[in-house]
Symmetry: C2
């Protein structure tokens, strides 16, 4: 499967998160959320359908396929991880964090994201436990991020 463009990732992510809320994502809801025109949604949906990430009957439902659900969850997860990092670790405000997460979610490798998540967990842990964990990591020879 060829890598999705940032733009298609945005559409798929929107479809996924809207689907979680309302059962089935509507094209016009995606249009409103991403602030793009309906024809833009239409062609993006076609492109996603062509890759087997969703099904789309004319004038009808948009339904994410299993692969689409997986990919959507993955992208949405990246977004949430980054937003949490920006707020909880960097102390950014919600709107700023949201904006940066939207853009950075397409730019970072999975390795960087994983490490970022681990760093957030480490820094958010209460001092005692943090120390304990670092000590244990040191003992086991694992690098304590």
């Amino acid at each position: 499967m060829k890598r999705l463009s940032p733009s298609l990732e945005d559409y798929l992510e929107a479809a996924y998160t809207l689907g979680l809320k309302d059962g089935f994502p509507r094209a016009c809801a995606i249009s409103r959320r991403l602030k793009v025109s309906k024809p833009s949604v239409n062609s993006a949906v076609k492109a996603l359908a062509a890759r087997g990430l969703l099904e789309h009957e004319k004038y009808g439902y948009i339904r994410l396929s299993p692969a689409g659900l997986r990919a959507g969850a993955e992208i949405s997860g990246r977004h949430l991880l980054l937003k949490d990092f920006f707020i909880a670790v960097l102390g950014m405000d919600g709107a700023e964090a949201e904006r940066d997460a939207c853009r950075a979610e397409h730019a970072l490798s999975s390795g960087a994201l994983r490490r970022l998540g681990e760093l957030a967990v480490f820094l958010k842990a209460p001092p005692r436990r943090r120390l304990l964990r670092a000590a244990r990591a040191a003992m086991s020879g694992k690098k304590a991020v």
Copy 2:
């Protein structure tokens, strides 16, 4: 001044860093560094010249303007900051860090980058000083990142 696209930022950054090394950046050096064709460089250079970021006489020199130097230094700084963060804080290897920095440098706000840099400084400081600094920050009422 309208915001540069990621693509134009890449060209300007390349021109800036090549200029640091060789005096004046050559178009074909940019072409090699970014692995794009010469015509791509040519049109990007025109676009940057149109914004007053560099001067470009036909078949001749590319010379960054003061504004171009400033912008180039800023972009290059973002890149270095991110790469350092990825290596020194996240423990990524050089090549991976380089790749991620290339892409993330266009995505993060200046606020996020500043905080990321401060976090790196904080985490890299030796424990004693780190503690001291946190304590002082606490005493002065400033948030200790």
